[in-house]
Amino acid sequence: MEVAHPTAGWEQLGERFYRKIQLYTQIFNQDLDLDSFLVAGAQYGGAIALYRDENKLVAYRPAKEKKPSIDIYSCAGKLIRSISWDKGPIKGLGWSEDEKLLVVTADGTVRCYYDLQGDFTQFSLGNGADEAGVKSCKFYDHGLVALLSNNALVSVSSYDEPRPKLLAPPPEGDVHSWNLIPPAYTLSRSVEVLLSIGQTVYVSDATECEDRFLDIGPFTHIAVSPNGKFAALYTATGSAHVITSDFQNRLSEYDSKSKILPKYFEWCGNDAVVIAWEDEVHLVGPAGSLTRFYYDNGRVHLVPDFDGVRVIANDTCDFLQKVPDVIEEVFRLGTDSAASILLDAVEQLEMQSPKADDNIQLIRSHLVDAVDTCVNAAGHEFNIHWQKRLLNAASFGKSVLDIYNSDDFVDMCETLRVLNAVRFYEVGLPLSYEQYQRLSPSGLIARLLNRHEYLLALRIAGYLRLPTDKIYVHWASTKVRVGAEDDDAICRKVVEKLSGKPGISFEAIARAAYDEGRGRLATELLNHEPRAGRQVPLLLSMEEDEVALDKAIESGDTDLVYFVLHQLKRKLPLASFFRVINTRPTATALVEASARLRDSDGQEDTALLKDLYYQDDRRLDGAAVFVREALRQPDSRTAVDKLTLAAKLLTDNAKENVFELTALKEAATLLRMQEAFDRDLTDSFSGLSVNQTMFKLIRLGYHGRAKKIQSEFKVPEKVAWWIRLQALVAKRDWNEIEEVSRVRKSPIGWEPFFNQTLLAGNLRLAALFIPKCTGLEPGQAITMYEKCNMRVKAAEEAVRIKDAESWSKLLDAAGRNTQEGREIERLGQAVFKK
């Protein structure tokens, strides 16, 4: 069969060529009047959504009348799904980069159909959209901007977590047309919106709206190039202007001389603009160069893509793009590129002509480049025949080379197999090589899954060595959703097929089953999920509360446990909530911990804790809550009340809690006594401990009261003595201390008295205690006297214990000629002088 030469569909536009590739034929039923439909197509050869345009009148055909619907087709015209629509007029119909269909209604409701099968999530634009009403919408990769009828602009930058935000408001006035620059291409990293108002264009982003001061408007169309660098404006008078998107440079101008308003005004790649009327398409290149295409069979729609434009008509789906460089290098008429010669060489070879070798010799030095070019050109070629020829040429070329890295060649062969498989009309994904590169293999698999092409997806994943887990999970999810078999059979089938495969999320499958209302199946499937944490949210929504809590605890992730507890606490009556947690120590601990630090001020939730401890019969913990409350009371009376309540909790087990009960009673007594002191002594005692109270009383000279405290609280004698000593020293009450020294016995001994008075600087008094100290080490008294500056006394001591060495040291220190020295000498004479 004779195959048309690749250049057959080429059209010259300025210095470059553009080509129109017929992707599919017989797209829509001939009865379908495309003119009365809104059409939106997804990027990367994605699906096409059709919705009947309510503004168009159609002939009333009773037989054909049906409920309004959004119909999703493949590029080849295969109906993927028809979604019935009853939400009223549609103000925005578009796609995200990952083929989610977005539908925006007049009141600002946005539906995000995420899987081509009619499942959707929904959110509202807010920001006054319901009152003002949505006028139109523009879409980009993962977001959209809606123009309201009051000229407000609402931007949504993610569909996973939609956060509609107002952009800077443009001035009032009719918006003739508008478009946006995706955030990826703007300096502000925010989406920027171009609006034609009056004669000029305003640019609005998140913070400000700027006038670009044009005077050639109004513009009926604004288009932004795929790389965001250029903008094209179409005036009401029929001329098109191409400028840089920062409005700094005018690039070219073209006058269509048409009075009729074009239906479409889009970019074709980054170098040309397409203008489409009903059945006529103009391709405008740099410097006003022009090519026209005509479609006889009625109305066309354009679907812009990254590297070209798809033209959709009833009977055909064409792809219009600039001829890729490599293709042009090989096929351009009159080319003498190495690659074209290589291609020719293969032809000669097939004809067994010696010219084949001549050709090779001719391009010998450029052979590597030639092979590379042929490999790349094969990728950009849609026609299988020419793909083969190019690969053949490459294969021949590299066989001649001594060393050639064939990785690219092998990769390309694999890629082409995949591309050709998905371009097949029953699949209907006419991906260009460049689109495939951007979409990525896993992106392609995701699209196949949306179309339920499981076998093909598996084959491709296997072929390209990609993980297959998601495919299986998707398959199983669909199976449980639409499968007609009973629960057991499905579960068996799914588990059979998926067991042993790594990375399978049974949770996702179980969720699908649950959403479908097959609770039992969901439970069964969930048991196969290896990740405990993953099971939790689903179990919660399945009202399997306790299982969810157990799984959360098992996972060790306290966030999950907290999450479950949070939900349960809202849902269950408090008593049942406690019943659920009190057999689970971790859960109880977390409830306690968060109740202790509940709000931002760290105030504890005492009510909850009291109930919890009461129900759990944890008396001591319950009492602790009351004690903590007592500490927060502003006055002693209420504090005592709280302490009484604490004690009340413990009285049932008075025997076990005797220590705590005594302590609580004492605490209350102390508070009362302190209150009395505060009143009587006009000083502040409340808040002090028993010891501190005694200390303060003694220091202030209220010895009787201090005694009373001691006996009331049975403060041990030793402790009381210490307190007394310290208080008296602090008071510098030497008389009193001296008074004490007359007592025969001290329970803490007399050394502390010596030390404390010495430290306080009263050497005389300190010395008084030295003879009273018992159990000193030999010679210790000598140093003690020394510390008091009493060398004579020290010497006496040295003499007493016959320590000649210390004695002579003392003598030296004092000096023999002082009175002290003579005294010391006298003392020692009798004993030490031989």
């Binding site: 998601k470 601990a589 968060s594 931002s600 760290g602 903590r628 010891n691 403060v715 402790v719």
Partner: protein, 678 residues
């Protein structure tokens, strides 16, 4: 910004700098994503750790205008962008954020851009709280996966200040989960720990979580194939040794005696910094010398006037040399250094040629820095000396050491009583009582009641709560307490593993070393002047079998003895001793597919020194780190040791977890004494 690509290049060994670098990049990348000037609102507890990663000045370069603490609730309206950097595990913080957002929105009509960077992860709980407060839609949320903060070239800490309280008092296992996550992060980058050895129930929990996370990662659909290959045993890492703090409460309760340890005891160290009165160390030098690292520094300087922040890390060469030595020799070391500096400086008189002079001038800045550091450390040392010379300190130390050495506890009664009567700071007294209780496996009810009365009367009845907490912690309780039912009687070897039996282990692992040389240490016992920390002895059971055998069997041959435990791994050789410490004991080998193991071996070459991770659940003290570094030094030809922990800890921190802060009456009694107030 470039993401670090998973390279197939030979795996270099574990390097903490990478952790710091990644943390830094992650933070700055997120900040960069917020266009324009911004106000930063940081959770107080996170300010210090962030300072370990990035300087305040760098944050300013990235557009941060003002710093605020979340807890101060004073975020102002000066910037349109408000960025919260907050830990995500607690609902409390989410509430606080929601409150502030609402307050700001209410305060002005300004349209704010709110950003929350959750550390280390975004949680369902926080989302829920923000959602219920009605602000979730107004917030841009991101995760800032900061798990380990690199405190030093050998220390990774989660810096969870409350982890001790959470784990042992509140029984909240969040720190365990975060620790496991953090360790998992290391494994994903460097391969599995070939061996997981550990002691204690919480340590076991960590090991179990690691196993679970490994399984889940394998099962996870988001794991790409390369990640799964990454989960084969590492051959740059030798093992991980996980020790639960609960196994050995006594060690951190003892007063630390290394230089860094004593700084921590006296002034307190947080995130490598200590606050010291500027009368002690002098005012900071005029051009603020790299001290203002923490973002906290900016806001802190305004409030406290006389305090100065001292950076304590290895960038201070002098400190690096002194930090792990016993305090007894610090004074003489400082003198030596002072003399050397002096003589170095004198060379300026002797330098004759211009070349010599030039050389001197070049050294001048380093010299000045050293001089500066010498001044600081002399000041600190003098202040510490003031404390260690007090009668009180010596009494405390004496009782501690007697108890640790196994003296009859009743002989220490009087001393303890006296300390209480003399109003010794509560944390110090409680530490003594807890040591007593822990070592003796609980206290007789009569004695316990006596001590409890003394505490309540001495420090106030609010400490009924404190005592209640200590009982829950099983640190101070009666032998007949229901919580103590599992505690074996002292010395009885019967019920092993439910409570650490110090009496038995003291002999078995030779915890008391009398002839310790503080100048030329020969055993880890030098850190406590004669007591070898049990926690670190346990590490030696794994890493230094021969040495430990040599000193416990008393055969006197050190080092080059017979290959007794040559090939033995894990706990082998010490199984019996380890059984007498509290909690479960485990030793697991992680295997991977043979092919992957071989591939990894090929890629990394192997044969080099491998890294051992010593992980402390519930906190590690500076003194224990000193002991570990002592081991690391001995082992440096064979292995690297990296220490991981949930936080730094000391006896004071442990007591702080238990002590009730509020008192009766309007005026709370002032906390006296030198104990650092954390």
């Amino acid at each position: 910004m470039e993401s670090s690509q998973p390279s197939m290049a030979p795996h270099a060994g574990f390097d903490i700098e990478q952790v710091r670098e990644k943390a830094r990049k992650d933070l700055l990348y997120l900040l960069e994503g917020v266009r324009g000037k911004k106000n930063l609102v940081i959770e107080k507890n996170l300010a210090g750790p962030l300072g370990v990663i990035v300087k305040a000045s760098t944050l300013r370069d990235y557009g941060v205008d003002n710093f605020f603490f979340l807890e101060n609730k004073n975020t102002d309206t000066s910037q349109r962008n408000v960025v919260f950097i907050v830990r995500g595990e607690s609902a409390r913080h989410a509430h606080a954020i929601a409150d502030q957002i609402k307050r700001l929105q209410h305060a002005s009509q300004f349209s704010y851009e709110f950003h929350v960077f959750w550390v280390p992860r975004r949680t369902l709980l926080s989302d829920k709280v923000l959602e219920e407060a009605g602000v979730l839609g107004d917030v841009n949320i991101a995760e800032l996966p900061l798990y380990f903060f690199p405190l030093e070239k050998d220390i990774l800490s989660l810096e969870l200040d409350d982890s001790f309280r959470d784990l042992y008092l509140a029984k909240d296992p969040t720190p365990i989960f975060l620790l496991a996550r953090a360790l998992m992060g290391i494994q994903q980058k460097h391969g599995l720990f070939p061996r997981i050895i550990g002691k204690g129930d919480m340590a076991k929990r960590v090991a179990d979580l690691l196993a679970r996370m490994r399984q889940e990662l394998l099962a996870g659909e988001d794991a790409s194939e390369t990640d799964k290959i990454g989960l084969s045993p590492s051959n740059t890492m030798e093992s991980v040794i996980i020790i639960d703090r609960e196994v050995d409460f006594v060690t951190p309760l003892l007063t630390q005696l290394t230089y860094e340890g004593l700084i921590d005891e006296v002034f307190g160290i947080q995130n490598n910094q200590t606050d010291v009165d500027s009368t002690i160390v002098g005012a900071p030098p005029q051009p603020a010398v790299a001290q203002g690292t923490a973002p906290a520094a900016a806001s802190a300087s305004a409030g406290q006037t006389r305090k100065r922040k001292i950076q304590l890390d290895s960038s201070d060469k002098l400190f690096d040399r002194l930090r792990d030595t016993n305090f007894a020799i610090v004074g003489s070391q400082l003198n030596k250094i002072a003399r050397r500096l002096q003589s170095d400086y004198e060379t300026r008189h002797t330098s004759k040629t211009t070349a010599e002079l030039k050389d001197f001038v070049q050294k001048l800045p380093g010299y000045q820095a050293e001089q500066q550091s010498l001044k600081i450390h002399t000041g600190l040392t003098e202040e510490i000396l003031k404390y260690t010379r007090t009668e009180q300190f010596n009494k405390l130390l004496e009782v501690q050491q007697n108890l640790a050495a196994g003296a009859d506890p009743s002989s220490q009664f009087e001393a303890i009583e006296e300390l209480i009567a003399r109003d010794t700071p509560l944390p110090q007294v409680l530490r003594l009582l807890c040591i007593y209780s822990c070592i003796s496996g609980g206290i007789k009810t009569k004695e316990l009641d006596h001590f409890r009365r003394l505490i309540l009367q001495g420090y106030g009845y609010q400490h009924l709560l404190t005592l209640h907490n200590l009982e829950k912690l099983q640190m101070f309780l009666s032998r007949s307490s229901p919580l103590a039912s599992m505690i074996p009687m002292t010395g009885a070897a019967g019920a092993a593993g439910t409570k650490t039996n110090y009496t038995y282990l003291r002999k078995q692992l030779r915890l008391i070393v009398d002839e310790v040389n503080e100048h030329e240490p020969n055993d880890i016992a030098y850190v406590y002047s004669g007591y070898a920390p049990l926690s670190i002895r346990l590490v030696q059971c794994v890493l230094q079998k021969q040495y430990l055998l040599s000193i416990t069997r008393g055969n006197g041959v050190s080092g080059a003895s017979a290959p007794a435990g040559g090939g033995a791994q894990g706990w082998r050789g010490f199984d019996d001793a380890v059984k007498h410490a509290r909690g479960s004991t485990f030793d697991e080998v992680q295997k991977g597919e043979d092919k992957a193991v071989k591939a990894r071996a090929l890629l990394s070459g192997g044969g080099d020194k491998k890294t051992v991770f010593v992980v402390f659940v519930g906190g590690i003290s500076f003194t224990e780190i000193a002991a570990l570094r002592f081991i690391a030094k001995k082992e440096e030809d064979r292995r690297n040791i990296v220490i991981c922990t949930t936080s730094m800890i000391s006896g004071n921190v442990m007591m702080d977890a238990a002590i009730e802060k509020e008192g009766f009456g309007k005026e709370a009694p002032a906390a006296p004494g030198p104990g650092p107030d954390r």
